[in-house]
Amino acid sequence: MNVRTPSNRGLPMESAFLAMVVVASLAAALVLALDSIGDEARQRSSRQFQSLLGGLGMGSHADLSRCPWLFDARLAGDQPPALEDASNEPDGCPWHAMSIFPAPESYPSYPDLGERAPDAVDQ
């Protein structure tokens, strides 16, 4: 029976492997720390862009060709995407179903957002 023992491989192998794991862990911790530090240049760029356009973009899509909701819910307002029109069901948009990122609530809840009775607003 051939049983491999640690002495066959030698101590340096263990030390080297342990060192590699420690270095990799420290490198991972370092990149996490670097990511947590604020990026001032990016923030300035973002502030200028949003101030110029009055706030544009809230979702994971980079254009309006698929679903306006997933580009910016402020643009779509209470108008459901075409597929929801056809199916007469909320959340029927396939882009919502496929996206793993936050999307605005669908059409039926929108009347709750902006439609308050004028009297209630004055209170």
């Binding site: 640690p6 990016r42 862009f49 809230m58 980079a62 307002g77 793993i100 999307a103 605005p104």
Partner: protein, 395 residues
């Protein structure tokens, strides 16, 4: 110290079965890397969306007809500006357009000239001028796709009853500007109206309110801003407030993040089975190894400690590699090839900096979860062998 020595044998065990260790680490990376990618992009996107809400307008006013959103006539600007508590009113046009033979999708945004904007950090070149017709600022991804530079001229890409003109690219958004600049064509309000051949209308009006006046202004707009023409057609105003979108975003983020985490938990449960197979279930050499240790006097708990330390080191290696791999791919290579899977509208080589932010706490939790996965997969097999008689184990 005895326990330390026993734990050290876990490191030895890793090196005794290198291929098994590599396979287990690969399982950890295969499960953790996609999860961290989604987590990182989601975090970056959330941050940009929060900035979009924070630096945007206080109120977004659109027209309303048949209970649905429609563009507003431009005289809404004067009506809204006259309401007490309003600091500024800016009409805006936003709409999709298609360019070129390959029909590239773009978003046209037209903003009315007003105050002087400092855009030196987000635009390479300059902003369009007040009276400058058909001066465009183009998004970085769109510019890369159409091979546009500052000073490039675009042949007419729209239809207008009054005729079409050549457009000039006076600026290009920098890649580190938010994601939504990628396919943007930003122009003056009049130019945007010309591109869509729609005069006297705005898709929405942005309202900036004085401090504490937002609710009052919103209510006044709903009550006072409406039109009825001679034919009896009535157009109302619909108002959405920034607060509404902020709460909407927060609740949607929690819901979607929960769904994402649930999918990852399912993937981890499959990974347990994968690790179970690679950990030595049926591996005769490992069984003999444990049998020998039992024969020379090792107890079951000592063997399990050895296995736990082995799992911990494998997890540490796998989790660290995953973080470095994901960070390198998304930062150094800007998500080449995968960004378009998460962010529709971008190319395989995104022309925009992929929004990405890895927060330590979820990463640590996912590393702990992967340790549970690896331990669950390997510890059972080890325990089964450790509780078997040494003679049987060494067969």
């Amino acid at each position: 110290m005895v326990w330390l020595e026993i734990g050290r044998t876990g490191l030895t065990a890793l090196l005794l079965h290198p291929w098994r260790s590599v396979a287990t680490t690969a399982c950890v990376v295969a499960v953790l890397a996609p999860y961290l990618t989604g987590l990182g992009i989601s975090g970056g996107l959330s941050r940009q969306a929060e900035e979009s809400l924070r630096f945007g307008a206080d109120l977004y006013v659109t027209g309303r007809q048949f209970g649905r959103g429609v563009p507003l006539p431009l005289d809404a600007v004067e009506k809204i500006a006259a309401i007490a508590g309003v600091a500024e009113v800016v009409p805006r046009i936003v709409g999709p357009i298609v360019l070129g033979r390959e029909r590239h999708s773009a978003v046209v945004v037209g903003v009315a000239p007003g105050k002087m904007w400092d855009v030196s950090d987000c635009i390479e070149g300059r902003l369009f001028r007040d009276g400058g017709a058909n001066e465009l600022v183009v998004g970085s991804a769109l510019a890369a796709r159409l091979k546009l530079k500052v000073g490039s001229r675009l042949p007419p890409f729209y239809r207008n009853r009054r005729g079409e003109r050549v457009s000039e690219v006076v600026g290009i958004f920098t890649p580190d500007a938010p994601l939504w600049q990628a396919n943007l064509i930003c122009a003056s309000f009049d130019t945007a109206a010309t591109l869509f051949d729609q005069q006297g209308l705005a898709t929405e009006v942005l309202v900036y309110c004085r401090v504490g006046e937002r609710e009052h202004v919103a209510g006044s707009i709903r009550r006072q801003v409406e039109w009825t023409d001679d034919g009896g057609r009535r157009l109302g105003a619909r108002v959405n407030s920034r607060d509404d979108f902020e709460s909407l975003w927060a609740s949607a983020a929690m819901h979607r993040d929960g769904v994402f985490h649930l999918h990852c938990v399912l993937a981890c449960s499959v990974a347990v089975l994968a690790v179970f197979v690679t950990s030595g279930f049926g591996s005769s050499e490992r069984r003999r190894e444990v049998g020998i240790l039992k024969a020379i006097g090792w107890q079951t708990d000592e063997i399990l400690l050895r296995g736990t330390v082995e799992s911990l080191l494998l997890t540490l290696a796998g989790a660290s590699l995953s973080v470095l791999l994901v960070w390198g791919w998304l930062r150094a290579f800007n998500g080449y090839g995968i960004a378009s899977l998460f962010l529709p509208g971008l190319d395989a080589r995104p022309g925009v900096d992929v929004p990405f932010r890895l927060v330590p706490v979820p990463v640590l939790l996912s590393a702990m979860l992967s340790w549970v996965v690896v331990t669950s997969g390997s510890l059972y097999a080890t325990w089964r062998t450790a509780t078997t008689a040494p003679v049987e184990a060494m067969r």
